[in-house]
């Protein structure tokens, strides 16, 4: 008791949140319930996975670009996955493709992106001390960690990791006889994904509850930064779609291990019929893509939210069409649930149904175009500061356009017959979903690094990283459009055996070289990131001149975020370069009564609501936590 009283005396003006957090190493850095620490845990784990996923892709790019050369020098890492004559084992090629997809989609761009920035920014930007449940938040990370361990382990087992593609279609994934990876590797994949789903649901429930229940005074939904809107909608989409993946995985597990026939029927192996009768592999595709398509937006929406924030801040202009941005995110979120069958146009679907899904798919172009238009009009005439975060955000807009345009082509069920499962699809989704989301992730890291670690990253290294990555991504994925239109199917180990496909060998060499350079450029980022954590310049309180609440916290915010009372919010988050204002930004915490020089008549009306009323309103609204 005595120590507690002393604490209170020492920390005059601090709230009760400051002194119960002198935990030991384990509770502070490992099993932490603080949202900022959990965000960093997600980020570091995500970076590890991104590096691994990138390396895997370069290994199979070596095979595709230089099929004749020997990769004997990789034997220390890959062991018997290199065949006797120094070539990549064809089955391991499939495993590489599968693991690259799984890692990038789920572990990097779902957990690494949402996990990092939803955790970090939601409490800071809505003005909350922490998440609704810090414990659930901690569980969310450790379920993700357990899931990561299982998936990582599967890389090292003798039969190799799952190799049926990241979409794990049965019967390939359901029958251990089909391919080596469908044995233990597939089992571990399913276990890992089950843990991953639990992690995502725990995290998502927390994000939604926090956004709805824990906003500070004045932070109405119409004053929320677009980042929070994006994270919120992402969590809602995840909550509705991940359980469906769970159903699909559950039925697949029953088929694999218990002998049911949900997805299996009429299968002959070496002339002998399997006992399974009455199932349908298409059923799995329906279940999978009901998750799978919303998953695309789970990956993309946070990146779009981050971009809105970064572009507006660094263009020193209010975001163009704030409500249109929210509306289009809502529309994208809604539409994402009713377009899944465009992944299945060639499964023998009723052509009429195909047309329905074509139309629904093409409608997504409308809200997407609204968002792109708003980004460009925000940039238009802005006083642009080319920080690394800003460049990555603009890069995202570029990828979103170039990748989105090919989506319009692919969404047509008739065109899809030619392009389905070719490199055209690979190019499309790597630009619009992969690279765009990756650039959003990078923009977020560069932009909020000063808040995360209290130090600045090097802008110069950031610019080099950006230009190499930006050029690299286009050099990798743009040629793939040509290869795809020429009919190259994806996931093929080698094209040299087919005369038709010999034409594009040099293009594949170019792609592979670009991929290697792009991966190498990421080490510039890694150096910049880890060096700056320890040796970077100390960050000023508000390095980008931003209006949102996170920049009102101290340089190294403790648990509870604000040393004193949580600031109240009076205005929307995009008051940049307001005519008449002294500075080119007005933080959300500044009431209209303090800025008569820049108020519009409507805002002058709101002053009456701000002042006085102390007796009634304050008592009623006293700190509810």
């Amino acid at each position: 008791m005595a120590t507690e009283e002393i604490n209170v005396v020492e920390e005059v003006g601090h709230e009760e949140h400051d002194h119960d957090h002198h935990g030991n190493f384990w509770t502070t850095y490992v099993f932490s319930t603080d949202h900022k620490t959990i965000a960093k845990q997600f980020l570091i784990t995500g970076i590890f996975w991104a590096l691994l996923g990138g390396i895997l892709s370069v290994i199979f790019r070596l095979q595709l670009g230089f099929p004749e050369s020997s990769i004997e020098w990789l034997r220390p890492f890959l062991g018997d996955w290199i065949t006797g004559d120094g070539k990549l084992d064809p089955e391991f090629y499939l495993a590489l493709v599968t693991m690259h997809g799984t890692i990038m989609v789920f572990f990097v761009l779902t957990a690494g992106l949402s996990g990092t920035f939803s955790n970090f920014l939601i409490p800071l930007q809505i003005g909350a001390r922490d998440m609704a449940s810090g414990f659930m938040n901690m569980l969310s990370y450790w379920f993700f960690f357990a899931s990561s361990v299982v998936m990582f382990t599967s890389l090292f087992i003798e039969t190799g990791p799952a190799s049926g593609g990241w979409v794990i279609y049965p019967p390939l994934s359901a029958l251990p006889q089909a391919v080596n990876g469908s044995g233990l590797g597939m089992t571990l994949w399913l276990v890992s994904m089950a843990l991953f789903i639990v992690s995502t649901l725990l995290g998502g429930i927390n994000y939604i509850t926090t956004v709805i229940n824990m906003r500070t005074k004045g932070m109405s939904f119409s004053k929320l930064p677009l980042t929070i809107w994006a994270f919120f909608l992402t969590a809602v989409i995840g909550l509705l779609s991940f359980p469906v993946l769970f159903s699909a995985a559950l039925l697949l597990i029953f088929d694999r291990h218990f002998g049911t026939s949900f997805f299996l029927s009429d299968i002959y192996i070496n002339g002998e019929a399997l006992p399974n009768q009455g199932g349908s592999p298409i059923l799995f595709q329906h279940l999978f893509w009901f998750l799978g398509h919303p998953e695309v937006y789970i990956v993309l929406l946070p990146a779009l939210g981050i971009t809105s924030e970064v572009i507006s801040t660094n263009a020193r202009k209010p975001i163009f069409g704030y409500y249109a941005m929210i509306g289009s995110m809502l529309a994208i979120g809604f539409l994402s649930f009713i377009v899944w069958a465009h992944h299945m146009f060639v499964t023998g679907m009723n052509p009429f149904l195909g047309s329905v899904f074509t139309i629904l798919t093409l409608i997504i172009a409308v809200p997407s175009a609204i968002k792109v238009f708003n980004y460009i009009t925000t940039l238009w005439g802005g006083n642009i500061r080319f920080t690394p975060g800003m460049m990555f955000s603009i890069g995202l807009v570029s990828f979103f356009i170039s990748g989105g345009l090919t989506g319009i082509a692919l969404g047509n069920s008739a065109v899809d017959i030619q392009l389905h499962d070719t490199y055209f699809v690979v190019a499309h989704f790597h630009l619009v979903m992969g690279s765009a989301s990756f650039f959003g992730l990078m923009a977020g890291v560069y932009h909020w690094f000063p808040k995360m670690f209290g130090r600045m990253m090097s802008n110069k290294l950031g610019s080099i990283h950006f230009w190499l990555t930006f050029a690299g991504v286009y050099l990798v994925f743009f040629p793939m459009h040509y290869i795809g239109v020429a009919g190259f199917p994806r996931r093929y180990y080698s094209f040299t055996n087919f005369d038709t496909f010999n034409d594009f060998t040099d293009l594949n060499v170019l792609v592979s070289i670009a991929a290697i350079v792009t991966l190498a450029a990421q080490f510039i980022f890694l150096f910049n990131f880890f060096y700056s954590i320890f040796r970077g310049k100390l960050a000023p309180a508000n390095p980008w001149g931003s209006t949102t609440l996170e920049w009102t916290t101290p340089r190294f915010p403790k648990h509870g975020n604000w040393p004193g009372e949580i600031p109240a919010v009076y205005r929307w988050p995009y008051d940049y370069s307001k005519p008449g204002a002294d500075e080119d930004f007005i933080p959300q915490t500044v009431p209209y009564s303090e800025t008569p020089e820049s108020n519009t008549p409507a805002e002058n009306e709101k002053i009456k609501l701000e002042t006085n009323g102390d007796e009634i309103v304050v008592k009623q609204n006293g700190d509810s936590h």
Binding site: G218, F258, E565, A568, L609
Partner: protein, 195 residues
């Protein structure tokens, strides 16, 4: 500088619901999505053809009655807790818990009936496996409900639940009603769609 100013138009308590209750609702939504996807898979598969038809076990009617009664006693327990009649709360919760265990046992017997009727979980037509998956997955969820009630019982014994501390009991109540309703939905769904 701004501490003593307020903006009346915007909410301080934006939602009049306890955060934990709200989180429970979100959790239930995710469960709904699991069963919604499974029942739609059921419909899609049935529309596909190659579908074996058989009778549902009679036992399902009895277990449905049991789960409905347990919902009533659970609700009565909440009412008693609001009036601080803790003895009644404890006996009603015990009754609910035992009804829950009866339900679990009843479902088990229903599966036995199906087996004696040559309807198996594995090795047969998906139409047969689906019944086991739907009722089995619900069975697993019901265990979580029974554990929840057990925790509430323990806390009522410790006088941690009373008219001034209702949140956890109300959450258990909501969850229990939800599990009951979920079973009724599954059962009615099966009655209408198993042909």
């Amino acid at each position: 500088m701004r501490v003593d100013m307020k903006l009346v138009e915007s909410p301080d308590r934006p939602l009049a619901m306890h955060p934990k209750k709200f989180a429970l609702w979100l959790f239930m939504i995710s469960i709904v999505m699991i069963f919604a996807s499974l029942t739609s898979a059921y419909l899609v598969k049935r529309g596909d053809g190659n579908w074996r038809v058989f009778d549902l076990p009679q036992m399902f009617y009895y277990t449905s009655a049991v789960i409905l009664v347990s919902s009533i006693t659970m609700q009565m327990a909440v009412r008693a807790a609001r009036r601080d009649q803790l003895k009644t709360v404890i006996s009603l919760l015990w009754f609910t818990l035992i009804m829950g265990l009866l339900f679990l046992g009843g479902q088990f017997m229903a599966w036995g009936d199906m087996i004696s009727n040559n309807v198996y979980f594995t090795g047969g037509n998906p139409s047969e496996s689906f019944i086991y998956v739907l009722s089995g997955l619900h069975w697993v969820h019901l265990i979580s409900g029974i554990i929840f009630i057990g925790i509430i019982l323990y806390n009522t014994h410790k006088f941690r639940i009373h008219s001034k501390a209702m949140v956890r009991l109300e959450m258990a109540n909501t969850y229990w009603h939800f599990l009951g309703a979920l079973w009724i939905y599954l059962f009615v769904f099966l009655i209408f769609n198993h042909q």
